[in-house]
Symmetry: C2
Subunit: 304 residues, 2 copies
C-alpha cells in the first residue's frame, strides 16, 4: 500500500484527512466503558476492551468517509500487552474495511534494531519456517535522529512489500524548533531531514510521490508551504489541525497544484465529538461522523 494507493483512496472519497485513533479510556463513551469494566474490572484489560469496542464503532461510523486511520501506539502501550492486542485488532479491522493504516510509532534505532521495528510494524517476522505478520500496518512514522542507516531497513521493507513511511521533518509541537529549526550552514535541521527523505526515497509513483513521506505540522504554515515547494516528490502527513491550533487555511499549503500529496490528521476533535452533544455518548458514531464531515468540508474550502 504505497502512497499511490493512499492517494487513490483520498481521491475516491474526496477527503484528504485521516482519523487519529489516540484513545484514552476517558474518551470512550460511558456505556462502552461500563460494559468493559463490568467484564474485566478497572484494569488495563478492561480499558483495552473498551478502547477496542470504541475503535470498532468509530471505524464502522467513518470508513466510508475517510481514506485512512492513524493509531498512535503510545495510547495502546500505556495499556500494556492488552492494549497492543487491541491495537492489533484495530489495525486488522480497519484494513478489512478498506482503510489505509498509518501506524504512528515514530520508531528509530541502529540498523539491526530498525529492521526489527520494520518487521513489527510493516513487515514480517521469521519464526522457524513461517513468515508471520505482527502489526502489519500499511505505513509507519520514523524518527531519523540516528541517521540514514536507521531509515534504510524500513525503506527496504517498503520496497519489498509495497508499503511506505513518513520521516519526522518539522513536527507540530511548540518546542519542535529546539532542534529542528537550528541552522547548519544554509539549511535548518528540518530542511536537512526533508532533503534526506527526498534523497533516500524511491522513484516517484503514479501521482509523483516516492515511498518516503514527511511529517510536517499544520502549526507552522509558512514552513509547511516552503517545504511543499522544496520537496516535490514527498508526500506529507500533516498533524496539528484542530485541537493543536492548526486551521484549514494553515494546512492548504501542504497540497500540490492538483490537490494531491498530503493527508491531514485530526484525533481528539473526532474521538471526543460526542462530549459536545449532551447525549451521554450514546450518539458517539453520529457525532464522529459529523465531525469528520465538518473537517473534510472545512479543508476542501481551501484546497487548490
Amino acid at each position: 500500500m504505497s502512497f499511490d494507493t493512499l492517494q487513490d483512496l483520498i481521491c475516491a472519497k474526496r477527503n484528504p484527512t485521516v482519523v487519529g485513533l489516540d484513545p484514552k479510556p476517558e474518551y470512550v463513551p460511558p456505556h462502552i466503558r461500563a460494559a468493559s469494566y463490568d467484564a474485566f474490572g478497572e484494569t488495563l484489560q478492561g480499558a483495552a476492551d473498551a478502547i477496542w469496542n470504541f475503535n470498532r464503532g468509530l471505524i464502522d461510523a467513518c470508513f466510508d468517509l475517510v481514506p485512512a486511520v492513524k493509531p498512535q501506539a503510545a495510547y495502546y502501550e500505556r495499556l500494556g500487552s492488552a492494549g497492543l492486542a487491541a491495537l492489533e485488532k484495530t489495525i486488522r479491522y480497519a484494513k478489512e474495511k478498506g482503510l489505509f493504516v498509518i501506524a504512528d510509532v515514530k520508531r528509530g534505532d541502529i540498523g539491526s534494531t530498525a529492521q526489527a521495528y520494520s518487521d513489527a510494524w510493516i513487515g514480517r517476522t521469521q519464526v522457524g519456517n513461517q513468515a508471520c505478520a505482527a502489526f502489519d500496518a500499511d505505513c509507519l512514522t520514523v524518527n531519523g535522529y540516528m541517521g540514514s542507516d536507521c531509515i534504510e531497513p524500513f525503506h527496504k521493507t517498503c520496497l519489498e512489500l509495497d508499503k511506505c513511511l513518513f520521516l519526522l521533518v518539522k513536527t507540530s509541537n511548540p518546542s519542535s524548533g529546539d532542534l529542528q529549526d537550528l541552522k547548519v550552514g544554509q539549511r535548518t535541521i528540518y530542511q536537512i531531514m526533508g532533503d534526506l527523505a527526498a534523497s533516500l526515497g524511491s522513484e516517484a509513483g503514479h501521482y509523483g510521490y516516492s515511498t518516503i513521506g514527511a511529517v510536517v505540522g499544520a502549526t507552522y504554515p509558512a514552513e509547511l508551504r516552503a517545504l511543499r515547494e522544496r520537496l516535490k516528490h514527498t508526500f506529507f502527513l500533516v498533524p496539528g489541525y484542530g485541537a493543536q491550533g492548526g486551521t484549514a487555511q494553515d494546512v492548504c499549503g501542504a497540497f500540490d497544484a492538483a490537490g494531491h500529496g498530503a493527508i491531514v490528521n485530526a484525533s481528539r476533535s473526532i474521538l471526543c465529538a460526542w462530549q459536545k452533544t449532551n447525549h451521554n455518548g450514546e450518539d458517539f458514531q453520529d457525532a464522529a461522523r459529523a465531525a469528520v464531515e465538518a473537517m473534510r468540508d472545512d479543508i476542501q474550502k481551501y484546497m487548490p
Copy 2:
C-alpha cells in the same frame, strides 16, 4: 529507581555492565525453541513463549553478576502483542530478581503523547479509579528530535516515581554522524542534545548524577571521552561494546575518576554465547554467565 540506585547496584556487584535482552527466535537454544513450537506452533505466540523461557533462563544465570538488564522493545514488538506480553513478564521477573530494568524504547513525541509513553514504560495509567502499571521499567531511553516539551513528561514521571531516563546523544551506529555531528555555531547537534540533557536534569543525586542520562556509543571513543568531560552530572548508557566493534579501552572514557557514572551494554555476545561452545545450547546459562564474567573482567582492566 534513580541513577543512585543503579550506581549502588553497580558498586555492590563490582560490574558496570548491562545485559541487553534483544532476542530473536534464532538466538534461543534449539531445545527451548522446540518445546515452545511444539506447544504453540511456529507462530508469534510460539516465538514469544520461547523468548520468555530463554530470558528467564538468562536472568536466572546472571542476576547475581549484573546490576541491570536492558530489553530492546523492537524484538518483542516484532512478535506482536504476544511478544509484548513476554516483555511484561521479563521486566517483572527481572525486577523480582533485584535487577534494574532499562526499557530501550527510544520513544519521543508531542507532549500529550510523550505523557502516554511515559505512563506506558515508567509510569501509571489511570483506568477509572485505578492507577495501573503497564510495563513499569525503572528507566527508559528517549529520542529528543522533537524538542524539550517531548522530554519533560518523561522527566516529570521520573521525579514523581523516582525513576530515570537516558536521552539519545551520540549513538553507536555508523551513520549517527549524518545528523548528530552537524555543527550549529560552535556546537555539534550531539553536544546540543547533551547540554539539553544536562540543563533539563534535576539536581544531582548522591553520586553526582541527575535524573537525565545520555546514550553515548562506545564506537566513538574520542567523543565519549569529551562528553564525559563536558557533562559532569550526566550518567551514560554506552552501547556498541562487542558485536558493534567497541572495546574495553574504548568504553573506559565513559567513567568518572571514581569509576562511576556509566553502564556498558552487551547483547548478542551474551545471548548467543552458547553458539560457540558446541553443546547445542543445553549449556546456554553457563555460556552466558561466562560471557558476562569475561566482559566484566575485560572492562575492569581499563577502569579508572
